[in-house]
Structures are given as structure tokens and as C-alpha cells.
């Protein structure tokens, strides 16, 4: 019984949270678009602005990359039953999608 009500309660709360997150994302996208548009001038494309943004926010991008690596390594640990630390280091070195492909293939051959 608690399990059922736990699922129902959490579902309700998660739906409210998703609503807030969707609003945030839309707002952030709108602001980001306005900001990027303000930075681009006629004749220059989006790429210089994006590359400047990336150079300016290297720290945040590293965090995002590491979190993705963490999730991929977690997936490999739980689903493929492989060593988490190795998977994490490999995904940093050869990028998460490549790690997933290689380790997934290795699991299949096993």
C-alpha cells in the first residue's frame, strides 16, 4: 500500500516540478536566443558567438561533460556490469558516445 501511494504522490510532485522546469527551459531558451541574436552582427554567423561563449564558459562546459561521463559510466556499471572507474576514465578520454559503443560491443562479444 505505501508503495502505491508513494508512486502516486511522487508522480504528482514530479509533474509540478516538470512544469516548472519546462517553464524555466523555455524562458532560458528565449533569453539565450535574444542574447545570442544581440551578439551577432550582419555578415557574421552564429559560430563565432558560440565559440566565444564556449571559450568564456569553459568551466561550466567541463562540468557538463564530466556529468555526462559520470552518467555513462553509471550506465556501464549497472547495465553492463563493468568497472565504473575504468568506464568513467575511458569516457573522459574517448567521449561518452564512443565509450558506450565500444563497451556495448565488448559486452555483446562476451
Amino acid at each position: 500500500m505505501p508503495k502505491l501511494s508513494d508512486k502516486n504522490l511522487s508522480m504528482g510532485l514530479i509533474l509540478v516540478s516538470i512544469g516548472i522546469l519546462v517553464y524555466w527551459l523555455l524562458e532560458a531558451t528565449r533569453r539565450a536566443y535574444a542574447w545570442f541574436s544581440g551578439l551577432t552582427s550582419p555578415g557574421t554567423g552564429w559560430w563565432p558567438v558560440i565559440s566565444n561563449f564556449c571559450l568564456d564558459n569553459v568551466g561550466i562546459l567541463i562540468v557538463v561533460y564530466l556529468v555526462i561521463c559520470l552518467q555513462v559510466a553509471g550506465f556501464i556499471e549497472f547495465k553492463l556490469k563493468k568497472n565504473f572507474l575504468k568506464a568513467f576514465l575511458w569516457s573522459i578520454a574517448i567521449t561518452p558516445p564512443v565509450t558506450l559503443i565500444i563497451w556495448g560491443h565488448r559486452k555483446e562479444t562476451e
Binding site: 505505501p2 508503495k3 501511494s5 508513494d6 508512486k7 504522490l9 511522487s10 508522480m11 510532485l13 514530479i14 509540478v16 516540478s17 516548472i20 522546469l21 524555466w24 568564456d56 564558459n57 568551466g59 561550466i60 567541463i62 562540468v63 564530466l66 556529468v67 559520470l70 552518467q71 559510466a73 553509471g74 556499471e77 549497472f78 556490469k81 563493468k82 568497472n83 565504473f84 572507474l85 568513467f88
Partner: protein, 767 residues
């Protein structure tokens, strides 16, 4: 407690969803957070010096000025003078500029058949050496211009631009861009330097933005790597990481809700949260994993989670409580940013504790067991090293304490050399452009900082003007003061010009009528607004402005006190009611830093001593626990003296934070040692066992805090960089104090509280 754990284990998804929703709701306002680059935000709005600065600005207009200095081989050459004229004209057109004074537009009072007239100092550029020499002589005679718009060696000229308003409504970035564009346009072969408070503020804002983009992300990167290598499992790495994110989001959300802004001190809040709050969840996850590894076939996950929580709740609570005490003692500071930081980090600590006790067990309940758990080995090499470490203190305790004591006393002698510095210019390295420009202008033009003294009385009366002159003469005798200007100097020049430029008459006019006549004459040929900076409309209030070179905050404070003392002793009450300006502000801020340091140090030590005494129900425990801490504090402040690290707005928080964080290690050690002695071991047996068991946890905990704080070493602000260095060093000192000094003290004193039973269960384990 069992009921509460039962609820968590029965409703894990609801608990997690609830925390996510709470975080989103509190964090809703995070995008509205703003940066506060104004150094005035360091003191409360109702503080005397802030009130008087605002009052002066209301009466006489903004006291902020920009100094644009031009360095040239020949400052009176046609090329250089043309550049000065053109630059002055362009600066004058800028919308936020009130008035510009330079060589080419400065007024000069000259005698004529009607008395005197106000005209331009340079009507035509000098074309030969005789004209240049005449101009130099004319400048030397004018106290208001000599050393102010032209250096005393005539190699540099300055354009002084006064701003209309001086609060944050001035766009410092715009001011910088406009002036930097002008510099690029007119530089070469002349060298141009820019200085002034708006540029300093702009540099603070730029450095803050840079720090925001680096400190928190790099802190997170270091913590992820630390967690990954420590736990070698997704659960172990991800759960403490997500808790850190939730803590930071909730704290920054509260910051936005309370309308607080990011000051340069506030930048440290996210980093402190990473460093301080990660250990609670690490403790629980670590214990959960070791329980899972110990029982090879764990079938009842609920039971493992329950036992972990029951076992760790008290020590984690105590650890949080002592850290909370340290941060809350920052409330005794006068500086609002330090108080805000104390509130925010304390809130973060409470959130971290609640998350570790609710969110974390709920997540552990849902997630599967880690695939590869590290098996706990028997007695490894590290355990043996720790065991020997403990045995060393059993054998050599007195000798060790003597050596450490002498070392601490030796290093503590550096305390007398500690300097206090609150000047925003010292936020950057001495090779930075802003420091070099300020230094140049200090050397050549007597500084870009000012002291303003308010005078109240009949300004047109010669008696009152003589009082102002007396004060002005006194100010000139003070070493950091390079120039004093007021209506007195203007009137002296008028009197001299009126009497055929005779130096004999360079004095205050004899009668009120004469003064009124001169002021009328001046208003006919000169710009009446010239007087606005020195006197109010009714001639009831006047301002003495003293330019001061940067000599350090303590000297500024001494100067401020000296002038106030002189005024109190020499003049009637109410003649000169306030001494203010940026120099006074920096000095008062330095005094507040020292007072806040002493007050928060005493409060945090007393509270931590009390908390430890209550935890162990023994006053002796409280006293013993602060011995290693006091040693660490003496070492840190001694080092600050020897390494010439100033006590400033950031390092002033050091003692409270190191006491709050550092006491954890001592409490952990004492707790475990008490368990060992109560299990029947002698103290000589209990100490090595404690170092071997709890010592590992303490080292691990200390390492996570050190890693968290070490990211401050990449800050662009020197105070934050030094704070990062010192806090890392002090945490290591506290760690060593708990694991070396404390064991030696226990062996010597054999305190009774380690043996007495107080009816509590004996199953508490820490670390």
C-alpha cells in the same frame, strides 16, 4: 527516530520528488541574483562614515573623480597640449561627466583695472622657452593646479574628470569603454594612464564575473573527481554530487529571496558549500558501502540503511552543529558581506544535514547496490602506519609537545607584523594595469583618493575662513596628504589678483564685505559652478578636500583619527562636524575588520569550547579541544605576518571558519577515543587504535574539505586567493592538531571524561 526512518523507507520517491520541488521553488529567483561591485556595500548603509559620505555628495555633488594622466617628454609642446585640449573637450561631452579640469581649460584669476577677471590659464599655446617658463611660474603660484593637473616636475599632465553622480547608477563599464577608446585614440608617443574609483569598481565587477565562471565549476570538477576516485561507483559519486547541487541551489535561492547581492566575498559561498557540506553525505554513503561490502549477501537493504542512519545521525549532527557555530559567529562582524556569508553557509549546512538524513537514504533505497564494491581488507600498510603513528605519541608525548609548542611560539611572533588592508586597489597583483596606473598617479599627482571635511558656519566671515585655513595648514603637514583645496584657496587667489598679483596679498581678505565683493566679481567673469564643489548655495557649509596618496588602510585610519582629534581639540564643536571621503572610508573599514576579527575569534572559540564541553559533559573536554585549534590559529596568523598577507575583508573570516570546520576533527577523535577507553582499553592502547580507525575517516574528511577550498586559489582577487591558501593550510593544521597534539595531550592529562559513563549507549561510532 525509527518512525522517521520508516517514513523515508516507505516513501522514498515522494521524499526525492519533494526535495526537487522545494529546490525548484526556492531556486526560482536565482537568475535574478546581481553582482555588487561597490566597495561601499562593505559597510552598513546606516554607518556614520557612509551616511556622512552620502550627505557630502548631496550638498557638494559627487566626490568621485577620474584621473587621466598624460606622460610626455615635453608636456608644453604644441602636440601634447593639442591632445590634452581635444581629450578634455571629448571627455566633457560625455553625459555622466560634470566638470573637466585640465591644463588647457583650467581657470586662472588675473588682476585688471576692474579688480580681477577669471580667464583661461592657457589662451595660446606657448611657442618659445620664455613663454613656457612664464607658464611654469604661473602654475607654481597656483596651489589649486600645481601638482594637481600638472606634476611638479612638469613631465606629466592630468585631466581630472568629475562625475555627476557617484552611486551604482553610473555605468562603470561604459565609463571604462569611453575612456579606453580615448586612450587608444590619443596614446603614442605619449603614455596615457587611467585611474579612479569607477574604474576600480569596473575591475571588481569584471574579476567577479570571471570568478563566478571558474570557482564554482572548478570546485564541482574537483569534487566529482574526488568522489569518483574515492568510491569507484556511480552511487558513491553521484549522490553526494547531487546533494551538493541541491544545497547550492537552495542557498543561492535563499540569497535571491532575501535580496542579497554577490559581493566579492559572496563569491566564496558556493565554494564553501562544496567544501563544508559534502562530508555529511560522504560519511553516510561510505558507511553504507562498507556495510554492504562486509556482508557479502545483503538481502535486507532497509536494515543496512536504517543501521547506517542510526549510527551516524549523532556524529553528523554534531559535526554540522560545530561548523554551524563557526559560521554563525560571523554574525558578530560589522561587515554586512561577512554576516551574509555566515547566514547563507549556515543555511546550506542545515539543508545539507536534512538532505543527508532524508534524500540520501531515500535514493539509496531506490538505487541498486553498486556492482563492484571495494572489499575492506584486513590490516593494510596504511593501517600499520597509523598504528605506529599513535604509538609514537604514547612514547614521546612530552618531547613532541615541547617541540610543537616552541615551533608555534616561533611562528606566532609574526603576528605583530600583520598588516590590515581594505583598499580595493590591493585586490589585484602589483603588476596589474589598474595597480600600475594608480601607482603612477599616486607618485605624480598626489593620489586619486580624497578626504573631505565638512565645515559649518558663516563661510563669508574672515574668522571662520581662518579656521578653515588653520585646518588646511594642519592637513598639509600630514605625510599622506599631497594637496588641500577649499574656498579659502580660491579667495586667496582672488585677493592676490585684486591687488595687482602681489604675493603679499595671497591671504584671506580682511572683511566680510571684501569677500562678498570678490565672490560677486568672480561670478561675473568666471563660472559660478566652480564654487559648487567647495561651498553650498547659502554659504553656510563648505568642504575641504584633501588628496591623499595610497599608503595602506592603517595609515588612512590613523590619519582619519588624527584629524578628528585635532578638530576636537582646536575648534568649536560643530565647526567641522564630519571627516569623510574614500580615504576615511578605507580606514574605518580596516578598523572594522580588526574589531570583527577579534570579536568573532573570541565568540567562535567560546561557543565551540562550550559545545564540546556539552557534548562530552565535561568542561575539561571543552578546554582540551581548543588547544590544537588555538595552536593552528597562532600559526596561521603568524604566517600571515611573515608572508606579508594582509588582514582584509576575506581573510578576516578565516578564524571563525577554521574553528567551525577544524573542531570536527578533534571531536571525532575524542568521541572514538572515549569509545575505546570505555570498551576496557587503557589510554595507551586506545590512542593508537583511535588513530588507526577514526584517523582514517578524519584524514578523508579533511581531504575533501581541503580539495573543496583549494579551488579558491584560482580566484582573480588577491584576498580570495590568500584566503584559499590560508584556509587550506589551516585545515591541514587543525587536522594535524587533532591527530598529533590531541593524542599527546590525552596521554599526559588522562582526562576523566574519557572513562566516565553517562548512561548513554556505547555504540556510537564516528568516522
Amino acid at each position: 527516530m525509527r518512525d522517521w526512518i520508516k517514513i523515508i523507507l516507505n516513501y522514498p520517491r515522494t521524499i526525492i520528488a519533494l526535495w526537487i520541488l522545494i529546490t525548484l521553488l526556492i531556486g526560482w529567483n536565482i537568475p535574478k541574483l546581481e553582482l555588487e561591485a561597490d566597495v561601499r556595500a562593505m559597510l552598513p548603509d546606516d554607518f556614520d562614515i557612509v551616511v556622512s559620505m552620502n550627505e557630502m555628495e548631496d550638498i557638494f555633488g559627487g566626490s568621485e573623480l577620474m584621473v587621466i594622466s598624460i606622460s610626455s617628454a615635453d608636456i608644453f609642446s604644441e602636440g601634447t597640449l593639442t591632445k590634452i585640449r581635444d581629450m578634455s573637450a571629448e571627455i566633457e561631452k560625455l553625459p555622466y561627466i560634470d566638470k573637466v579640469v585640465s591644463l588647457t581649460n583650467a581657470d586662472d584669476i588675473k588682476g585688471n583695472e576692474f579688480g580681477f577677471e577669471v580667464g583661461q590659464l592657457i589662451r595660446d599655446f606657448p611657442t618659445n622657452e620664455t613663454e613656457r617658463q612664464a607658464l611654469k611660474n604661473r602654475l607654481r603660484e597656483n596651489d589649486l593646479l600645481y601638482g594637481s593637473i600638472v606634476s611638479k616636475n612638469f613631465k606629466n599632465a592630468a585631466i581630472i574628470a568629475m562625475l555627476k553622480i557617484s552611486d551604482e547608477s553610473n555605468d562603470d563599464e561604459l565609463i571604462f569603454r569611453d575612456l579606453d577608446d580615448l586612450r587608444r585614440k590619443y596614446e603614442n608617443p605619449q603614455k596615457i594612464y587611467l585611474a579612479g574609483l569607477p574604474l576600480t569598481r569596473r575591475e571588481v565587477a569584471v574579476t567577479m564575473q570571471g570568478d563566478l565562471k571558474t570557482l564554482f565549476p572548478y570546485g564541482i570538477v574537483l569534487m566529482i573527481l574526488f568522489l569518483v576516485f574515492s568510491f569507484r561507483s556511480w552511487t558513491g559519486a553521484f549522490l553526494p554530487f547531487i546533494i551538493i547541487i541541491l544545497v547550492v541551489a537552495n542557498t543561492l535561492g535563499l540569497m535571491a529571496l532575501l535580496g542579497m547581492k554577490f559581493t566579492f566575498i559572496g563569491l566564496m559561498v558556493p565554494v564553501m558549500l562544496i567544501a563544508v557540506t559534502s562530508s555529511y553525505s560522504i560519511h553516510i554513503v561510505s558507511h553504507y558501502f562498507s556495510e554492504c561490502a562486509r556482508c557479502s549477501n545483503v538481502t535486507n537493504k532497509d536494515e543496512v540503511i536504517r543501521s547506517s542512519l542510526e549510527l551516524l545521525m549523532t556524529p553528523v549532527f554534531l559535526s554540522g552543529l560545530t561548523t554551524l557555530i563557526g559560521f554563525l559567529s560571523l554574525q558578530s562582524h560589522v561587515l554586512p558581506p561577512a554576516r551574509e556569508l555566515g547566514i547563507l553557509v549556515s543555511f546550506g549546512i542545515i539543508i545539507a544535514f536534512l538532505l543527508s538524513m532524508t534524500f540520501l537514504p531515500a535514493a539509496l533505497k531506490i538505487l541498486p547496490f553498486p556492482a563492484h564494491l571495494q572489499k575492506t581488507s584486513g590490516t593494510g600498510r596504511f593501517d600499520r602506519i597509523l598504528q605506529r603513528w599513535g604509538e609514537f605519541f604514547v612514547r614521546h608525548n612530552i618531547g613532541f609537545l615541547l617541540i610543537v609548542g616552541l615551533l608555534v611560539i616561533g611562528i606566532a611572533t609574526g603576528i605583530k607584523s600583520i598588516r590590515v588592508d581594505t583598499n580595493p586597489v590591493y585586490f589585484w597583483d602589483e603588476n596589474s594595469e589598474i595597480r600600475q596606473s594608480n601607482h603612477f598617479i599616486d607618485q605624480e599627482f598626489g593620489g586619486s583618493s580624497q578626504l573631505s571635511i565638512l565645515s559649518k558656519g558663516d563661510i563669508k566671515s574672515p574668522e571662520f575662513l581662518r579656521k578653515m585655513e588653520l585646518l588646511s595648514d594642519y592637513l598639509k603637514t600630514k605625510e599622506p596628504v599631497t594637496q588641500v583645496s577649499s574656498i579659502v584657496d580660491q579667495l586667496k587667489l582672488m585677493n592676490q589678483a585684486f591687488h595687482g598679483d602681489s604675493l603679499k596679498y595671497k591671504a584671506i581678505p580682511e572683511s566680510s564685505e571684501e569677500i562678498a565683493q570678490f565672490l560677486l566679481l568672480y561670478s561675473l567673469t568666471g563660472d559660478p559652478e566652480d564654487m559648487d564643489r567647495f561651498v553650498d548655495y547659502d554659504y553656510k557649509q563648505a568642504q575641504l578636500l584633501a588628496r591623499v596618496v595610497e599608503t595602506g588602510s592603517s595609515t588612512s585610519y590613523d590619519l582619519y583619527l588624527d584629524i578628528r582629534d585635532y578638530i576636537r581639540k582646536t575648534f568649536d564643536r560643530g565647526d567641522f562636524p564630519s571627516v569623510t571621503g574614500m580615504t576615511a572610508f578605507v580606514g574605518v573599514l580596516a578598523d572594522m575588520v580588526v574589531r570583527g576579527q577579534i570579536r568573532s575569534l573570541i565568540i567562535s572559540i567560546a561557543l565551540v569550547c562550550l559545545a564540546t564541553a556539552l557534548i562530552f559533559r565535561s568542561p575539561l573536554a571543552g578546554i582540551l579541544s581548543i588547544i590544537p585549534l588555538s595552536g593552528a590559529i597562532l600559526v596561521i596568523f603568524g604566517l600571515m605576518g611573515y608572508l606579508k598577507i594582509s588582514l582584509d575583508m576575506a581573510t578576516v573570516m578565516l578564524s571563525s571558519i577554521m574553528i567551525g570546520v577544524g573542531i570536527d576533527y578533534t571531536i571525532h577523535f575524542l568521541y572514538r577515543c572515549r569509545l575505546e577507553t570505555r570498551s576496557g582499553k587503557t589510554l595507551e592502547e586506545a590512542v593508537p587504535t583511535t588513530i588507526q580507525t577514526a584517523g582514517k575517516g578524519i584524514l578523508y574528511n579533511g581531504l575533501s574539505v581541503v580539495i573543496g577550498f583549494s579551488v579558491l586559489l584560482v580566484s582573480g582577487f588577491l584576498p580570495i586567493y590568500f584566503f584559499g591558501f590560508l584556509i587550506v593550510f589551516s585545515i591541514v593544521a587543525c587536522l594535524l592538531g587533532a591527530l598529533t597534539v590531541m593524542p599527546a595531550i590525552l596521554i599526559i592529562t588522562k582526562p576523566g571524561f574519557l572513562y566516565r559513563r553517562n548512561g548513554k549507549k556505547n555504540a556510537e561510532v564516528i568516522g
